[in-house]
Symmetry: C2
């Protein structure tokens, strides 16, 4: 088991990565928090797969003093909505949840973001725990306190910063994760590799040859990513000095792709994988990066999206229009580009023609799409 301590101001919190953690550190953490009630926020599929193990572990710990309630909602980005949030507020209010209670976010990124914002805003904030069940959430979204919901057409448009009391990533749940979700998480792993840690790319490639959730390799990969994330958040919790913003590598392109498919056909990590390839191509065209950068990206990322079919109805023009629409609305369109692996830089403007060609080329290479 790996324990990473994220220090923030005088407080901070622990990020635990390992096996059998629900029965040990999670239960112990909850004992220390002493809530009257635990609000288990999750979705039905996760509860069916792993809920009874989690609840058994918590019941063993609380000896019947702590009651438990469920707040569940269907999986999928489209449910990270104001409507689901309202349902959550009403459920907590009707159950009489108070600021002394605890929300436990048990799921992937959507569950963590929504349940975290519910916890941040119900009664001006209740304590919560992140218990991620996807690779993507373990390496990225569960750490750092960014919580929130989407508005129609605007991902993460509403939210705040609300740090969890702890993050408990139990690797035991990953073996039920569908391969597409695993690959989507690996794209985020690769992001840390490109940004900070070339050795992580080798670890990723070695792991991919076996794809085993037994053994220590996957634990080491997740802990290494969590360590990078924790260090970034420690330096720039509120995302204001350009350090945390680097984690948006691949995201300017990626968000336009997700938005163009209505957030359904592509997993977040898949969109980011494509986005990082576009960013690498753009950095080469701009002359900022030497040749070979895109090649490295292709080697690492193409296997992760090889099984993904072109989203029906996705058009190059629509992707480009989404990117330009953002720009027209007066938003600064920032790109994270690499001069080389491990050397990221924020670029406030990028030639429109380079953007266009990067999008076109990667979509053509990946799916044979033409304008």
């Amino acid at each position: 088991m790996a324990g990473i301590v994220l220090r923030l101001g005088s407080e901070g919190y622990a990020i635990h990565v390992g096996r059998g953690l629900y029965e040990t550190v999670l239960a112990q953490t909850l004992v220390g928090m002493d809530p009257a009630r635990i609000v288990l926020a999750s979705h039905p599929d996760i509860l069916e797969l792993h809920g009874s193990r989690l609840e058994d572990a918590l019941r063993g710990m609380t000896a019947g003093d702590t009651s438990m309630m469920h707040f569940t909602f269907p999986p999928g980005e489209e449910n990270k909505s104001l409507l689901t949030l309202e349902r959550g507020y009403v459920a907590l209010l009707e159950a009489g949840v108070t600021r002394e209670d605890v929300v436990l976010a048990f799921g992937g990124g959507v569950v963590g973001d929504l349940a975290g914002f519910l916890a941040a805003s119900y009664m001006r904030g209740v304590r919560y725990l992140q218990v991620p069940t996807t690779l993507m959430a373990m390496v990225d979204s569960s750490i750092g306190g960014k919580v929130g919901i989407d508005l129609p057409g605007a991902k993460n448009a509403v939210g705040c910063f609300h740090q969890p009391v702890a993050v408990v990533s139990d690797i035991g749940v990953l073996k039920t994760l569908p391969q597409r979700e695993v690959n989507s998480g690996l794209a985020e792993v690769a992001k840390y590799g490109f940004l900070y840690d070339v050795e992580l790319l080798s670890m990723l490639r070695i792991w991919e040859s076996e794809r085993s959730f037994e053994g220590t390799a996957i634990e080491k990969i997740i802990a290494r990513c969590a360590g990078h994330k924790a260090e970034v958040v420690r330096q720039d919790e509120r995302d204001v000095i350009g350090i945390r913003a680097l984690l948006n590598y691949g995201h300017t392109f990626g968000h336009a792709l997700e938005s163009a498919c209505g957030y359904q056909a592509l997993r977040h990590g898949e969109a980011v994988a494509l986005g990082m390839m576009m960013a690498a191509r753009a950095a080469e065209m701009d002359g900022m990066a030497a040749g070979g950068l895109l090649e490295l990206h292709r080697d690492v990322l193409m296997p992760l999206i090889a099984q993904v079919e072109a989203p029906e109805g996705l058009e190059v023009e629509v992707v480009l229009r989404r990117m330009l629409a953002d720009k027209k609305r007066g938003r600064r369109q920032r790109f994270v580009l690499l001069e080389a692996p491990g050397e990221p830089r924020i670029v406030d403007s990028l030639d429109e023609d380079i953007v266009r060609r990067a999008v076109e080329e990667i979509l053509r290479e990946t799916w044979g799409m033409e304008r």
Copy 2:
């Protein structure tokens, strides 16, 4: 003009009380913040009365570089809702408001709470200014960063802490405030008097004999209250160590009254005035306070609610049921009671019969209501 500096951690902010402040400190503060856009959040009545003065002042300052947009919603507690909040999110999103822009909350408590929460949660937080236009908001709700909305039947059930960049209370706007609103604000002034500052009660009584918004008396009263509020928030920003909780004096009873009338028939300050008299009666019955406490409360508060008619349909039983309903839901029902003026204490439980008799007696004395 009085300037109070609220220190919080390493930052804090200034609270300005005086005249002609839109043209001076407000304009200067905005110049310093350098937003591309100002979102003027308000309601139509306030804008009609004082909007052109405010906008002229801001236009004079920005020399045309800063654009201004309005987000308005009708006055009244019933509009401090998730629905209004959603309208706000969509309006800001459609206008392309970014985290570099500024929200200016221009109105009373409802505007400040809702616009503050909009600012706190849109794009994970944009900067905002509190520019209160009611006495109640100037002395209390605009200071301290508690922002949020109501859920049906549950006031302030959703929200967070988001401190403004500054609070600018221009007394010039108070002369258009309806007398009921003035009296409602004076009840909050009296609250600070009972809790911390007996001299303030004398200042209040002297001011009431003339009720003039010219001269320095009202400015001194507001600044004195703002100073008390700032000190309380400095000591207990997040309302966790029992210091800020004292500001709920009269509120446990008051909320039940507001809730029993559906938040329409009674102003917040009126409900708090009645609630403080109930609390004083309860403290006497409990033996915690010597006799004379209720008498002092009656002297100060009765004139403030003398013109208020009994809300149609208000029943003693309903008020009591609201209080018991809260208790049954597992919420700790805390009361702030006074041992004497200036000596408040938090009481975690109060004999149910005392609660009942305090509610009954004050409603009978005030409005001749019988069970």
